[in-house]
């Protein structure tokens, strides 16, 4: 059968970095084809080359039999290629129909709202989606917004749809719904390229092309492979996917929240009557789509924000109104959601970032001066122990990869803390090897008696690592379960507020 898309020896360079190295593969009509690879493997770059956003340095792309030379996505869209990115490009105060019409090539001066509305309603019906085209984007859930992005492509009669990490922001139910839609699309003859690093999704595809460090490793038929085998292809070596969690007796209560409420200018329920307890030797997982109060919860625990009502106790001491410096002194570590924005000083060295928070401690000072040799010794130790890849401890951290920058935060927080660890999506954007490493460290601290709260969007991680799972939705605790007894469907429903 003639392939819909054929990529031959595509090479794309950025300066001296070879993002795509002579990659060849093809897409058949009506298949779901996964691009699997770690961060930095070249999946997004490859997709952007197909979509016309980048122009390849070498190689050819054939779409529907014709050789293509797209100068911009506009050309790709005209040919019938659509793409949905991780960060949506919708205009929130505008309606669905307005978002679809905007930027459509060849739109007449007097926009044809009636015609567009008809076509949109038909598409929604076809795919079993209940959506009024006049709804404003900011009234839609994330899952619905994503559907609007897909609608944009379908409206323009896309034959090939590229999705970049589509389920990163969806609940399990929404993911299921998405894949139902994708299957219907393929039945209608539309091909789908799915960029993902989530093995659960990969297993739902027809074929997988595995990329590693810019090169294509192999293209395989999904059902002939196991998750472990695919991970091995992706990473290049044996990787243990499931870390072992020890059975430990529950320790004393360490961190306790009682009726914590927080509001801000726009939202009266940023945190809504939050109460739960974390014990020593325990990891609590917080499940929920990002933006439901998880980050603000940590800000209260760290002391950056004070709750409007309610109390927080650390080891039976009331820390509700305590400032971050004092809370840190009491042994609380925090791995923030956004490593550069909230956890690192970009132009400072590795060593200087490792002492952030302890720069006034006597162990690093000689009188009023910083003791550079003591700092260097400590930094070298951290770098070795946590295998932080850096030319030197004096290197600026913005020259390091995301994984290594994260390791700096990890090393620092694990060294500075002694009782509690607050980890907010600590493995986001990291390679499988580093993820494995972070998980091992979390479990190690759990055995040492830490009380740990882990916020994560990867339900698989929560089920593997935690003793209890708390679900948050719109600032409220929707459920508090023992992990062994928890069911993924139930959690998924609670994440969506049901």
């Amino acid at each position: 059968m003639e392939a819909l898309l054929k990529v031959e020896k595509l090479t794309k360079r950025f300066e001296w970095v070879v993002a795509n190295d002579a990659i060849s593969f093809d897409i058949q009509k009506g298949e779901i084809h996964c691009l699997l690879g770690e961060n930095g493997a070249g999946k997004s770059t490859l997709a952007e080359c197909i979509y016309g956003y980048y122009q390849p340095d070498q190689g050819d792309i054939y779409f529907d039999g014709t050789k293509i030379d797209y100068r911009s996505p506009r050309d790709a869209i005209k040919s019938g290629i659509g793409m949905v990115h991780q960060h949506f490009v919708l205009v929130p105060p505008a309606s669905v129909i307005e978002n679809v019409i905007v930027g459509t090539a060849g739109a007449p001066f007097l926009l044809d709202f009636k015609g567009t509305e008809k076509k949109l309603k038909q598409l929604c019906q076809n795919y079993n989606v209940d959506l009024d085209p006049h709804t404003k984007i900011w009234d839609l859930s994330v899952g619905q917004q994503q559907w609007v992005e897909i609608l944009k492509a379908l409206y323009l009669d896309a034959k090939l749809l590229i999705l970049d990490e589509p389920t990163a922001v969806l609940t399990p139910q929404e993911s299921e719904q998405l894949f139902k839609i994708l299957r219907k699309m393929t039945a209608d003859g539309i091909s789908i390229i799915l960029i993902t690093h989530k093995l659960n999704e990969v297993m739902q595809s027809d074929r997988v092309t595995v990329l590693r460090k810019g090169k294509r490793v192999d293209t395989v038929i999904t059902k002939n492979y196991s998750k472990n085998e695919l991970t091995n292809l992706m990473v290049g070596r044996e990787v243990i996917l499931d870390v072992k969690k020890d059975n430990l007796p529950l320790g004393a209560s360490m961190l306790r929240l009682e009726g914590v409420n927080l509001r801000d200018e726009w939202n009266p329920h940023v945190l809504d009557d939050i109460s739960f307890t974390v014990h020593k030797n325990e990891i609590i997982g917080i499940a929920g789509v990002a933006g439901n109060g998880q980050k603000e919860l940590f800000e209260v625990l760290v002391g950056v924000t004070t709750p409007d009502t309610g109390k927080v106790f650390l080891d039976d001491e009331d820390i509700t109104h305590m400032n971050p410096a004092d809370i840190i002194k009491r042994g609380v570590g925090h791995i923030p959601q956004d490593r550069y924005l909230e956890g690192l000083l970009e132009e400072f060295s590795v060593a200087d970032n490792l002492i952030l928070g302890s720069q006034h401690d006597s162990c690093f000072k000689k009188g009023p001066f910083l003791d550079q040799s003591k700092i260097a010794t400590y930094a070298e130790k951290c770098t070795a122990e946590y295998e932080i890849l850096t030319p030197s401890i004096k290197t600026q951290v913005d020259h390091l990869s995301g994984g290594n920058a994260q390791k700096i935060i990890l090393a620092r927080e694990l060294w500075q803390s002694s009782k509690v660890l607050l980890a907010n999506r600590p493995t986001r954007g990291l390679d499988v090897g580093v993820i494995e490493y972070v998980h091992r460290q979390l479990l190690k601290k759990r055995s040492e008696g830490y009380a740990i709260i882990l916020i994560s969007e990867e339900l698989e991680d929560l089920f593997n690592l935690t003793d209890r799972i708390v679900v948050m939705y719109k600032g409220k605790v929707m459920g508090d379960f023992k992990t062994e007894a928890a069911k993924i469907e139930e959690i998924g429903l609670l994440m969506a507020g049901k």
């Binding site: 400032n323 971050p324 000083l345 928070g357």
Partner: protein, 355 residues
């Protein structure tokens, strides 16, 4: 047609930083020269007179250092604030406060001997600027008042306060000008060498430069200042008391700027008058920027600018080109410097078919 684009460099390149500085210097001299030529002046003669007056001979150097001294202070004041990304434009007012407080102290403690009086007066001057600066820091923390607005407005307020003092309670009896009595002789800064005007204020400036260098580079407070400027969000998560930092940095900055005023009072004018500043605060900002916001860089940039002013006086006398030409040149240097410092951050590349 060849198209060019900018590509960010991966490492801070010292070679290019120095090179870009010289490119700026040369370009601005060229443009200043054109400016002079456009009004019929001989640029070569003028620049030569300026250069001679600024740097050739012992007297020239001494006078250049004299002019550089207040700029070292206002420049360093800018460095400490700007490193924390606190955009203080209050050096002018803090300088005047330094002079006011120094004069007041010299009168109050006039009974004390020099050896005690002079350090006391210096401390008083510092405190004047520190209080003013600290007040702006407090306004930012308490009322979220933008520091650019508060410092600039206080410059005016302090200026009017000075006018009030000089026309009212502190006015020299029988004097036509708005000025105070002369400062008592034993409170004045002694000169370093008999024949020249250069006073110990210059030594105070050297000490301050060294102090700033160590403070910013080597202490934990310096770490905090730089961290505050780099990423206040992450810094706050890791325990920083941001409001306290605002006030502290502004107090240090204000106090250092005030030392410029103290020096002008005790080393140059000998009495408090309306001319105590004339833009030394604002020039300090330019000096600090050209010095790359470092203590040592500021010291040398101040020397350069001091030379421009000193040489400018000579140029005016010898060739008739007005002193304001120097101020124009200072501004032109800054503009070219800002453009050329782009070269140290970015490379220029040809746009190829790949992009």
């Amino acid at each position: 047609m060849i198209k060019l684009k900018f590509v960010k460099r991966t490492h801070n390149n010292l070679r290019w930083r120095i090179l870009s500085f010289f490119i700026a210097l040369v370009s601005s001299l060229l443009v200043s020269g054109l400016l002079m030529a456009s009004v019929g002046q001989n640029a070569f003669e003028a620049f030569w007179a300026l250069f001679e007056g600024a740097f050739m001979g012992q007297e020239a150097i001494m006078d250049t250092l004299l002019r550089a001294t207040p700029l070292i202070f206002t420049g360093l004041a800018t460095v400490v604030a700007f490193r924390a990304r606190i955009w203080s434009i209050g050096q002018e007012g803090q300088l005047v406060m330094g002079a006011i407080f120094a004069y007041g102290a010299s009168v109050i403690f006039s009974g004390l001997p020099s050896i005690v009086l002079i350090p006391l007066v210096i401390i008083a001057g510092f405190m004047g600027g520190a209080l003013l600066g600290g007040f702006c820091g407090w306004l930012k923390y308490r009322f979220k008042v933008d520091e650019v607005i508060s410092t600039v407005m206080l410059n005016y307020i302090v200026g009017y306060f000075l006018t009030y003092l000089l026309s009212g309670p502190w006015r020299s009896k029988g004097s036509y000008y708005l000025q105070t009595e002369e400062v008592v002789k034993h409170a004045l800064y002694p000169v370093l060498m008999e024949e020249y005007q250069l006073h110990i204020g210059f030594l105070v400036a050297i000490v301050t430069t060294v102090f700033m260098y160590f403070l910013i580079r080597k202490t934990s407070l310096g770490y905090d200042i730089k961290a505050l400027g780099m990423n206040p969000t992450a810094f706050r998560y890791k325990g920083a008391n941001i409001p306290k930092m605002f006030v502290l940095v502004m107090m240090i900055s204000g106090g250092v700027a005030a030392l410029a005023g103290t020096g002008e009072l005790l080393g140059v004018h000998g009495r408090l008058n309306m001319d105590i500043s004339l833009g030394l605060g604002f020039t300090g900002i330019i000096v600090a920027m050209i010095g790359g916001l470092t203590s040592i860089g500021t010291f040398f940039a101040a020397f350069l600018f001091g030379g421009l002013v000193n040489g400018g006086y000579v140029m005016q006398v010898m060739t008739g080109v007005p002193l304001s030409m120097v101020y124009a040149t200072q501004a032109i240097i800054l503009l070219f410097f800002l453009c050329s410092s782009l070269l140290s951050k970015y490379r220029i590349k040809k746009v190829t078919d790949n992009d």
